[in-house]
């Protein structure tokens, strides 16, 4: 591929991103640090046909996941029919008994899904992870695209790329679809949250109010926004960027000071929409991941279009045997961890570590999954003026409104370290824009 005019603007775009406050906050050793999220100008380019295939597969997957969440907190047919063993549901930290029997407005639980994929060297795409709680990341390619257009308009005349500025419109459509009557707000824990930039950016782009918990109040079974003058405005939809545990101290963690007391009680009555619905963690648990292709077949009667990375559940005896025999070729993941933590590679352990790990695995087989290490298709990044190959994944965004919609862009994250497979932004990676060609 010829060098794009855009590449020459990398530094300027990064400077602008810094000036706009595109930062990633992380807590390390109890200290809050903000770091820049380094942008690499070489886009990931996905062809029109290839994306159409991904789009179809992603819609199918998220539709099935949404049906699964409905079913788990309702009739539990999938457990009764023994497609998913019940211990994977009830022992999951994402399962919330408080959600039993609670109907989400319009039946939508997974309004915004961030589905992580990787492409193998064989060109095949694999799903690595489903994120159905509060997936973040859409704002980064949105603002990067905007800044790139400004710095190098020529590039965008030469290439025919799907415009990704429609994300805000899609999001607004979803929020309006489930709104029970009243304003739409984006609830942020505040500026010390890792994704605060995103909260404020999405509020600006969708026209929703950006609020903190103390500005929302439950009164007479309805939710209100209390403005500076004390006036109360009804709220019908809350795109909440705080996790389930902290949402409502009267129903979840009692020590939460960022939540809204009794918001869950009025949600249960159908008087406000929560985006995403509480309890979704039961469907994006790494243990449940194994069963997602089976859900597609079970609920939709279709063959899954997109595949999981080959995964083994030590919970099943056959799989345990395979894992022990092929330990060095596998990556093991703790189902309760996220953000690239709790991931270990069999071949990178010392003898002692291996023995300890296997003992733990035998003791708590449900706690781990094992996956084949996928031979990623590397993509190029600019490193001190040179193009060098690095591991990268793609977070695709699927929004569930009246029907599922896939955003024709996505967040491509890469590892800066040539030997690392872990691309999570919380571990110091960078990002790229994702271009979907329009023809």
């Amino acid at each position: 591929m010829q060098k794009m005019d855009l590449y020459g603007h990398t530094d300027i775009v990064n400077e602008l991103l810094a000036r706009y406050g595109v930062k990633f906050g992380i807590y390390k050793n109890n200290e809050f640090k903000e770091q820049l999220f380094p942008f690499d100008a070489i886009p990931r380019i996905i062809g029109n046909h290839e994306f159409a295939y991904l789009e179809k597969g992603l819609k199918q997957r998220v539709t099935a996941l949404n049906l699964f969440i409905q079913d788990i907190y309702g009739d539990k047919k999938i457990i009764r029919d023994k497609v998913v063993p019940e211990e994977f549901v009830y022992a999951s930290s994402g399962y919330l008994a408080q959600c039993e029997g609670v109907a989400a407005p319009q039946g939508i639980h997974a309004h915004i899904a961030g589905i992580d994929l990787v492409q193998g060297k064989n060109g095949e795409w694999y799903i690595l992870e489903d994120n159905l709680r509060v997936p973040s990341g859409a704002s980064y390619p949105m603002i990067a695209r905007e800044l790139c257009r400004r710095s190098s308009p020529r590039t965008f005349q030469e290439y025919h790329i799907e415009d990704n500025r429609n994300y805000a419109r899609m999001l607004r459509k979803v929020m309006d679809h489930v709104n029970t009557g009243g304003h739409t707000v984006i609830l942020t824990p505040g500026r010390y949250n890792a994704a605060y930039f995103e909260h404020s950016y999405l509020a600006e782009k969708t026209g929703a109010h950006l609020v903190t918990g103390s500005e929302l109040i439950v009164d007479n079974d309805h939710l209100y926004f209390k403005d500076y003058s004390g006036r109360m405005e009804p709220v019908g939809a809350v795109y909440r960027r705080i996790s389930d545990e902290y949402l409502d101290p009267m129903n979840f963690r009692r020590d939460s000071v960022i939540g809204i007391p009794h918001i869950y009680d009025i949600y249960r009555k159908g008087n406000v929409a929560l985006i995403n619905a509480p309890g979704n963690g039961v469907a994006d648990d790494k243990g449940i991941y194994y069963f997602v292709p089976k859900m597609v077949t079970y609920y939709l009667g279709e063959e899954p279009i997109l595949q999981n990375a080959p995964t083994y559940l030590p919970f099943y005896e056959d799989d345990m045997r395979y894992v022990l025999e092929n330990f060095d070729n596998l990556v093991l993941k703790d189902v309760a961890e996220a953000g690239g933590y709790g991931v270990v590679f069999g071949n990178k352990m010392t003898k002692q570590q291996k023995e300890d790990f296997i003992a733990l695995l035998k003791k708590e087989p449900r706690r781990f999954i094992a996956q084949e290490v996928i031979d990623f298709l590397d993509i190029d990044i600019m490193d001190e003026g040179k193009e060098v190959p690095r591991k990268a994944d793609l977070r695709a965004f699927v929004l569930m409104g009246e029907e599922p919609m896939v955003w024709k862009s996505g967040l491509t994250r890469f590892s800066r370290n040539p030997d690392s497979f872990i691309v999570n932004s919380s571990q110091g990676g960078g990002f790229k824009d994702t271009w979907v060609l329009s023809q």
Binding site: E87, A91, C99, V218, D219, N220, H262, D265
Partner: protein, 265 residues
Amino acid sequence: MKELHFLYEMNLAFDRPVEKHRFTLKCVPCSSSRQEISKLTVEVFPKEFLSTDEDSFGNYCIYGYSEGMHDHFSVRVEGRAKTGLAAWEPAREEHCIGMYKYQTDYTKPGPAITAFAGRFTFAPDMSGYDRALAYMRELHERFSYVQGVTDIHTTAEEAMAQGEGVCQDYSHILLSLCRMEHIPARYVVGMLMGEGLSHAWVEVYSGGRWIALDPTNNLVVDDQHIRISVGRDYGDCTINQGIFVGQTTQTQEAKVLVEEIYSPE
């Protein structure tokens, strides 16, 4: 079968006034196949608004808000209950049993409970109910009722390790033992005949029905208990939960009075 008059009273006193007080109360018994509730009155003071709902465990909840400054908060529930109408409770919805099969933070077993469970060998055809009964009998032998040595945060394992506790601890231990045997079991909060505090016991699911066992008193529940709420553990059944704004020290006084009503006939 008995007809009982019950009264539940709770008073919270704050040494300095508080405001913006939000509360959720699970203190009202409901009719079921075992008990029939009538002549119910509920008073909550002070309050800006009160609302009611049923939670995911099927419990009747009252929730509300007292915005202004207040230095006390009181709840009074009074009514009549016909008890002992059936020996067991049918499962309301079969698919809601699953969550009662798994341990929670309160019931997770450790060495003490595992050692206790290791003393039992059951015939494979023995029902869940009979196993639970065997556990209860043995627990009653080996665990002592002592007030003040545990608190609301004590787990089953901690209580078992020290060998003493109150009804909450007896119940959490029995839940832990049942769940180790994959017997669905749930925590119950309610009132017991006589005068005192609220009581806790256990329901085990066996043969398609919930059967109530009171491990503190080593008995199968008959007509002396009035059930208020159920859940996976104490945390799901908190009678009074509240948050407010203010720097204060609160003192809670709660009283339960249950007396038999003798009909003239």
